[in-house]
């Protein structure tokens, strides 16, 4: 039985349908990422799971119990917000204690001065747990400070700490890294993965950054326009996208999409060049997806383009090529050594790795062409 199960979630704000019957099962201990462009409904889905919004129809189950009617406070989930949402008037330690205090102490124990006297043991226990978590997150020196005195990265840790002090069914994270600077974001990615491994807890992570989704998750769900288009491990999503929309969204730089064609005799043609033969049949137009790393510069290459832009990342060099057959440039990854001699304005030839070619129908659905691999002919 899965830990968390969302089924048939519909949600509309006014006349806008934000979620169109979304279903998703999350196993215990899994790191699942909901990824999609802004406004695709991923945050709303997370808020419905958290109990902060209610679905119009559909069912939310946590550990086989329907919690559709349960308040957020009683669902035993912990959430980390994009803005961290720390209580500005409380110190870091008090911020982290709050969830424990609210759940484990009676009203008397929560009183400011009397509380620790009334519920001495519970308070001591809470202090100990907060300190243990602070130790793990390396924020012990910050415990006495107010959130206003912390940097973005430190606040982020405190927000994580506040979620970690208790033992929730799952951690929900709503773009927790998007307010950090680039270097820190990359660092925190690794740290969050590490944290997930250590806690062995269920993580549901929302992001619009496909890189975060690819690097951290066990499984990712690509959402667009209120629907989950594909769920699977990052590798699967990247190499085997179910539709053109997913292929376009995942991967940076984005996949190149070129118009192709399957002819009646089984030849698959791209820009006038035969890629390979498949079984003959109905002729049809295809979109051909090629990731930049599956294209390479080759002196004898079958395609030619003019370099319109160079993007140097140090380890890789991406060249934007303008083809005379196409309006959009084709992006191709080149090794820096290989591309040292080419400059903007040069014409270069390139070729592709036929095994990596992805085919899509005109409506964006992925297709495999029967026998494409078997009938492949040497170039």
């Amino acid at each position: 039985m899965s830990q968390i199960s969302l089924s048939g979630i519909h949600k509309s704000f006014g006349s806008t349908e934000v979620l169109k019957g979304v279903s998703l099962d999350i196993e215990a201990g899994e790191f699942v990422t909901l990824v999609g462009p802004s406004g695709c409904g991923k945050s709303t889905l997370l808020r419905i799971l958290a109990g902060l919004d209610s679905a119009d129809t559909g069912d939310v189950r946590i550990q086989a119990q329907s919690v559709t009617q349960t308040r957020a406070a009683d669902r035993n989930l912990a959430m980390v917000f994009q803005s961290y949402a720390l209580y500005p008037h409380l110190s870091v330690a008090e911020n982290m204690m709050t969830p424990l205090k609210m759940r484990e102490l009676g009203w008397a124990g929560r009183l400011p001065i009397v509380g620790p006297l009334v519920a001495r043991r519970a308070c001591r226990d809470i202090h100990a747990r907060v300190e243990a978590v602070a130790e793990t997150l390396k924020i012990t020196p910050l415990l006495a400070r107010k959130p206003g005195q912390l940097s973005g990265g430190q606040r982020q840790r405190v927000a994580l700490g506040r979620a970690m002090v208790r033992d929730p069914v799952a951690f929900l994270m709503d773009e927790p890294l998007s307010n950090l600077d680039a270097a820190l974001r990359v660092h925190m990615r690794a740290e969050l993965s590490e944290l997930h491994r250590r806690l062995n807890a269920t993580f549901v992570y929302v992001t619009h950054d496909q890189a975060e989704a690819l690097t951290m998750s066990d499984r990712m769900a690509v959402m667009m326009q209120g629907e989950i288009l594909q769920v699977g491990p990052p590798d699967e999503i990247y190499h085997n996208p179910a539709s053109l929309a997913v292929a376009r969204f995942i991967g940076s730089p984005a996949i190149n999409v070129l118009p192709g064609e399957k002819l009646a005799d089984g030849r698959v043609v791209l820009l006038g060049q035969r890629l390979f033969n498949v079984q003959s049949g109905q002729p049809r137009a295809l979109f051909i997806g090629l990731r930049p790393e599956h294209l390479h510069l080759a002196a004898e290459g079958r395609f030619e383009g003019m370099i319109s832009h160079r993007e140097n990342l140090g380890s890789d060099l991406f060249l934007h090529l303008t083809l005379k057959e196409m309006d959009n440039p084709v992006v191709i990854r080149a090794h820096p050594d290989q591309a040292r001699n080419v400059a903007r304005g040069h014409n270069v030839r390139f070729d592709l790795d036929p095994a990596k070619v992805l085919f899509f129908e005109a409506d964006g659905q992925r297709v495999t062409l029967d026998g494409a691999r078997q009938l492949e002919v040497a170039q």
Partner: protein, 307 residues
């Protein structure tokens, strides 16, 4: 470097007609506002003769004068010579139980403010952060209520209080003010600026809606509450109209402004010196409060004006 400094200095010293005009208008306004205070303070320092003849400048000559009341009690003239300041201020405390009035004032204003907060915060929270059917309508009603002058509803209020037998009690002084529409409005405007994430985080932490109000919203709203507190305390401390209506007989319930009446309209004429001394004593707590909380007060006014 030096040139730059010289430049700024020159800029600061340069005569600007616009600035000068602004200041002239402000000074004039300040004078109009301050003049009564000046008179009040001056009269509280002077002897009756100097007050009547309008002599003696600001503080008077401070020459001892003969206290006629003392003579009436049959004492020697030499024993009845008093210093004007001492006479005015001691009479203020002796002739009327001014300390009692001040205490009443504190009890009433503090109770009013406390209950106003207890009522206004949940209302403001609901109007700002909860989604429910008819919320905008309720808020419109709140805005509408801001337009109702106190005097328009004074009579019905009085009759209601009289019917339940509450006139001449603290309750009569406090109850009509416990629901402050202005407070609800001000706090609602402030709560609109509190991020939703903070409230959601509190919900995830296991807080009930009431816990959110008292544990999260109240502490974040301290600046706005201070501003509202100053408005509320000033208004009810200085209120003459309402206590005058509901406190008819029992002098023990007089608030400080009512205390001023003790010096008014006696058979032997008005006694302005002690009266102004009383007025000075009454406004002092407010002025001290204002000076202490000046920055907050200005913040509060801009807060209510800007948003």
């Amino acid at each position: 470097m030096t040139e730059a400094v010289a430049d700024t200095k020159a800029l600061a010293l340069r005569f600007s007609t616009k600035t000068a005009l602004t200041h002239a208008v402000l000074i004039l306004g300040a004078l109009i506002v301050l003049l009564p205070f000046y008179t009040m303070l001056s009269l509280s320092l002077k002897a009756p003769a100097e007050i009547m003849q309008q002599t003696g400048g600001f503080i008077g000559t401070q020459a001892p004068f003969r206290d006629d009341y003392c003579i009436k009690l049959g004492k020697e003239v030499a024993d009845c010579m008093v210093n004007p300041i001492a006479y005015n201020y001691s009479t203020a405390f002796e002739k009327a139980p001014l300390l009692r009035y001040l205490l009443n004032g504190v009890v009433v204003t503090v109770s009013i403010f406390f209950i106003q907060v207890v009522v206004a915060l949940p209302c403001a929270y609901a109007l700002a952060k909860l989604r429910f059917w008819g919320r905008e309508f309720v808020f419109t009603l709140v805005l509408f209520c801001l337009l109702i002058p106190v005097h328009a509803i004074a009579l019905p209020l009085y009759i209601m209080l009289a019917k339940v037998g509450l006139t001449n009690t603290y309750a009569a002084l406090i109850i009509p003010w416990t629901i402050s529409v202005f407070g609800i409005f001000l706090m609602r405007q402030f709560f609109m600026t509190v991020p939703d994430d903070l409230i959601d985080a509190a919900r995830m932490d296991g807080m009930s809606e009431y816990a959110i109000i008292w544990r999260v919203m109240l502490p974040t709203a301290i600046p706005a509450l201070m501003a509202f507190g100053i408005f509320s305390v000033v208004a009810h401390w200085n209120d003459y109209f309402w206590p005058r209506i509901v406190i008819t007989g029992n002098r023990d319930l007089f608030t400080p402004p009512l205390g001023l009446r003790e010096f008014k309209g006696d058979a032997d004429g008005d006694n302005f010196g002690p009266m102004m001394a009383t007025a000075c004593i009454i406004v002092t707590p407010l002025i001290v409060c204002f000076l202490l909380a000046q920055r907050r007060f200005i913040e509060g006014i801009t807060l209510s004006g800007m948003k």
